[in-house]
């Protein structure tokens, strides 16, 4: 069945629909050449239609091992070629079947480079996936739907759970955490308690943590004022590490500001300079918002990492309290694992007092 992706500005991109079903969401692109399943299941994409710039998708199939959460959260998937017969020893199935069984609207055979160019010049836009036969009214209705803001609520864990280990006890606030962050923390020895995003500071402190971790997640940090308040209460009490949305929330909690990037950073090849060592690391990124550099003045924060391409803030550290955070994804999955040293730094922070 023929279908199309229509963007807010009226541009239309044609392709084949994998199955019936429309999609509405903010259209973003990811430039990674591998890792489509990790992207699909990264809760940070909740509410978004994701297009991949690499044209051959599904080559190595899907496997449980690569899931970053319990299910895919993207609202729609726009790709060029969808591989029918995958080939990899780990493949447990084909991507097409995976998308169908999970009801993810997918349009393939699309000129995804054209979409990327459009978003690059116009900025991130709302878009819809519909069949070619969709009526004007139907299209208008889809565009009229209000933007979804309660995405964190949708992706956060519904209940507290634990990943036991012998090391320090870390409470992880789950705003939409990727499985590999948990695995990375667990691997270095952390004893983890994962709590829902709406957990209060009292509830968290009652768990007697040695450290607090703030996860990645979808959406605009400013849509989460309660979370910011919780973090304010926790600041300085225990060593704290934040990634992505967690990093933005820390900034807000410290009185700094965040803003929406024109089209975000999404891909596995983003260079970031570690300002402490002078070294550049290639990072995996997925964020549409960023911490405003000017707003950090007077907050006792130092910028520790900076994006090489556009100079935006990618990491910060507090000068007085044991706290640091990064905008990018040291846990990779997908992407390069050049940055696992950050987990070691968290470990150092957790164990320094001992």
């Amino acid at each position: 069945m023929k279908g199309k992706l229509i963007l807010e500005d009226g541009s239309v991109f044609y392709g084949e629909m994998l199955q019936n079903g429309n999609a509405v969401g903010e259209v973003v692109f990811n430039t990674g050449m591998t890792g489509y399943q990790e992207i699909l299941t990264d809760p940070s994409y909740c509410g978004q239609i994701v297009t991949l710039t690499f044209p051959l998708i599904g080559n190595y199939g899907v496997a449980d091992l690569f899931e970053q959460s319990d299910k895919p959260y993207v609202r729609g998937f726009v790709i060029s070629e969808l591989c029918v017969n995958p080939s990899n020893w780990q493949a447990e199935g084909a991507l097409a079947d995976y998308l169908k069984s999970r009801n993810i609207p997918c349009i393939y055979g699309v000129d995804t480079r054209a979409i990327t160019r459009k978003i690059r010049s116009h900025g991130t836009m709302k878009g819809i996936i519909v069949s070619e036969a969709a009526s004007e009214a139907e299209i208008a209705e889809l565009f009229a739907r209000p933007p979804q803001i309660e995405v964190v609520k949708e992706v956060t864990t519904k209940s507290v759970y634990r990943m036991l280990n012998h090391g320090p006890h870390v409470v992880v606030i789950d705003y939409g955490i990727k499985r590999n962050i948990l695995n990375s923390l667990h691997k270095i020895g952390c004893n983890l308690t994962i709590v829902p995003a709406h957990t209060t500071a009292e509830q968290i402190m009652a768990l007697q943590p040695d450290g607090i971790f703030l996860s990645n997640g979808p959406g605009d940090p400013k849509d989460l004022p309660e979370a910011v308040e919780v973090i304010k209460d926790l600041l300085g009490k225990k060593p704290m590490f934040g990634i992505c949305l967690g990093h933005q929330l820390i900034a807000l909690a410290l009185g700094a500001d965040t803003y929406k990037l024109k089209f975000g950073h999404r891909g596995s090849n983003q260079p970031v300079k570690n300002l402490t060592t002078g070294r550049v690391h290639i990072t995996s990124q997925n964020h549409g918002y960023s911490v405003h550099e000017d707003s950090l003045a007077g907050k006792n924060l130092i910028i520790t990492h900076r994006a090489v391409n556009d100079g935006t803030v990618e990491g910060m550290r507090h000068q007085d309290i044991p706290l640091f955070s990064v905008q990018y994804h040291p846990e990779a999955a997908p992407g390069p694992d050049d940055n696992t040293y950050l987990f070691d730094e968290f470990w150092t922070l957790l164990t320094k007092g001992e």
Binding site: F54, V84, R113, P271, P334
Partner: protein
Amino acid sequence: MPKKEYLRKVLVIGSGPIVIGQAAEFDYAGTQACRALKEEGIEVVLVNSNPATIMTDANIADRVYIEPLTPEFLEEIIAKERPDGVLATLGGQAGLNLAFKLAERGVFEKYHAELLGTSIEAIKKAEDRELFKETMQAIGEPIPESTIVEDIESAKQFAEEIGFPLIVRPAYTMGGTGGGIASNDQELVDIVTRGLKYSLIGQVLIERSVAGWKEIEYEVMRDANDNCITVCNMENFDPVGIHTGDSIVVAPSQTLADYEYQMLRSASLRIIRELGIEGGCNAQYALDPNSNQYYVIEVNPRVSRSSALASKATGYPIAKVATKIAIGYHLDEIVNAVTQKTMACFEPTLDYVVVKFPRWPFDKFMFADRILGTQMKATGEVMSIDRTFEGALLKAVRSLEIGLHRLHIPEIAGLSTEAIRDNLKLANDERLFVVAEALRRNIAIDEIHQVTGIDFWFLDKIKNIVTMETALREGVLSPELMGTAKKIGFADKTIAEITGKTTDEIRNIRKEQQIVPCYKMVDTCAAEFEAATPYYYSTYAQEDEVSISHKRKVLVLGSGPIRIGQGVEFDYCSVHSVWALREMGLESIIVNNNPETVSTDFDTSDRLYFEPLTPEDVLNIIDKEQPEGVIVQFGGQTAINLAGPLAKAGVKVFGTSVENIDKAEDREKFDALLEEIGIPRPQGTTVTNAEDAVREATKIGYPVVVRPSYVLGGRAMEIVYSEAELKDYMNRAVKASPEHPVLVDRYMQGTEVEVDAISDGQDVLIPGIMEHVERAGVHSGDSIAVYPTQTLPSAVIQTIVDYTKKLAVGLNVKGLLNIQYVIADGVVYVIEVNPRSSRTIPFLSKVTNVPMVNVATRIALGATLKSLGYQPGLMPPKPYIAVKAPVFSFAKMLQVDISLGPEMKSTGEVMGTDYHYARALYKAITAAGMNVPSQGTVLFTVANKDKAEAGELAKGFADLGYSLVATAGTAQYLQSLGLAVDTVQKVHEHKADIIQMIKTGKINMVINTLTHGKEPERDGFKIRRATVEHAIPCLTSMDTAKEVLHVLNFMRERRLVYALALQDYVGGGDNLV
């Protein structure tokens, strides 16, 4: 850290002549290096023996030394120039080996020159097998169980421990020379023996074979601050077991999950860090298709062929960045030339698929073993870009210029299904086509995978292509079907062939259906950032993002893959033509598909289209760009072949007209022209069948030269001496038919002379005349050529000038032409005229200081010689002598006869220049790698017709103190002249036969001329091959031998090493005499 400010002068070491395993990619790398240094205000001194390169142009480096790449010459140049730094990692394995030798001699300390980039210690760690093993073990990177042996016994012992199959690789060689896979004791002994011989340090590595695993490569960069990035990864279509240079390669990897991709990427970073590389490096892995287990196979601590490919595949200029790193910059201080905003410290991401396809010389070397293994055999490669794998693969096949436009070879299609099954087992150059045929016969993908080890993913893609063939054959050519076929790369010609229509019809239908390609940009970042690179490829998709300018513009056709007969010289010409256009203020557009070249650097022309050079692909670009016309005379036969179809489609061809090109190439028309202007040629005729050939040959008289019409590089050309040989030739070598006539010419055994001239249709400028050392009969590309002529009387030169002018005017040549003459008994005959640039243009341009391509380009666009300030006629000869010598890659091609003949066999060339002819010749043969012994034993075994000449030669060698040995007949003759000659046993006559003597070092040079017949079984063949395997000189032309003797005589009393820059010769040089 910023640039090392103390570097004011840097010496760049080039890679020398083109040989299999080391091709034009180092011209690209070296040229980028020189420019990157000049940009920094550093004075650049360049040394390279290869004159056919852009890098040896006087405008690329401040001081260009076209001198032999030996430690002696290098030390001389360093002593003279006193550079602050030496850059060797962009000159391939040749450059690296040289740096290694210079370090051993203490040259760097002695002259206070710093070896820039990767250190000698790091190079050793990567190249020395034992050190490499230790290093990998230290960082926990797995390598296959292996051992290093220096003798056969240890090799056998290891085989007992590990079992077969085993891979054998000699240490310190390139292109895997002398390596192989051994499956039993005997093979092990053979390969190890050979490997020990080729290794510079007498070592070979033997290791467990991981044949059948996935072969994956990463291109990695590192700076002194330990910043590391990977530029690109690549997956081989063929599993481990076939040299990566002989594999079809796809970028990025296609069958690796993110986890596997990152696992090997991380390994690459650990490796480059541990080795301490500063610059570029290439790491190769074997990855188990059934687990996450992998082995590191090899690491190249330098810019390599794969780096060139990765550069072109991603747009990331590896050579340039490696150079900047070498002079001190860090990756985050170097601007990404593509975006001009972001920095070089990032990883390119692709939004297309790249396929590299090797170009093999098996069309030339009929007897060569076509089985591919660990020893590289390809002379060149093509690259293609598309948004589907199928599209990229089919584009690559079209780009190869092997007469194919799809995965279909008629001979293979004619085989039985059983034969197809058998052929699947052969890992040769045709296997892809056999796989496609197997799929057409419905042989299961599982079975094909079992036999070939090729990943299911690739096989499935080939299946898609085969399925589309059926759909086209059986279906209606609807816009949907046409669109899908074009999306997966089907050429109009292919669709035409399958649907029984003509190519023009398909093109028209397609255009009516509004199915036309669109063009996209290669920008390193998958469109994330706006890029400024005018580097494009075609695909069938929704958006054409390339806007065209409305400036005056001209399209230049490139020369495609490097092959025997069409080497880097033609890329040199294309690039100079583009530069001339830019100088003239015209927009220049280049179309080419060779990733190894300077022409496919995105900043060479105003616009680069990386596309196959077929009429369809080029016409599509012309449809889009609407240039004023095309220039075809610089892209070798590739471009000339396109002139007709383009002109027919209404495209303006600048320069010599298509009619006149045809007049020079069509036998009858050419004969008519010669008759009209009164120029003699060797008697000859055209035949279309074997009977006519015999009848005509009898009329002309033997020996005759026979060849198919319209070929390049003397392909399938032979001299035959009898009717029997002629019949054999007509049956074996050619399929004569009215469409494919065969030329039969009288063979004139005279002096061969070559002229390159520039004509504007009225006046003709001849910058110089070259005389060949070898008499006619040896292909001009395989002859030693000397500028200026040494033996020709002025009357003959006058005739040549006169004929050249008449031919140029007669063909109304507008631009370059190349003419070959033979002078027999004082009479000048014309052999052939090529109304295009030739192999000798770079050589002649450099030695005469006439920018021949620039002038020819301007003339093609309407200028005259006089308007450009050139006096017509022959330019006065320069006071120095330049000698061009051929270089062969016989060591890489087993079963190939090395004797020189009318069919071209050399892969590259070198130049020697000096004020003394003998020293120029000495430099040329030294640069060519001919290891002429200064004493020892010379073997003579010559045909009867050559005995008299052999006598004189033998006497000369004896007078210089060489011992002589000869086979019975030759010995008898030499003894009759009173020479002391030992008779040696022919092959098989005795245990102590010639082969044994060569093997044991008792013969140090061989002079052997051919007795007729080409079967490899013959003795002469075995002797000649033995000289290749044991790296001793073998001269198969009496003329070459005579000149070698002359050099030995002359140089005995003279200084061997004397280096002078090109600028000294062509500049103030005239006053030095």
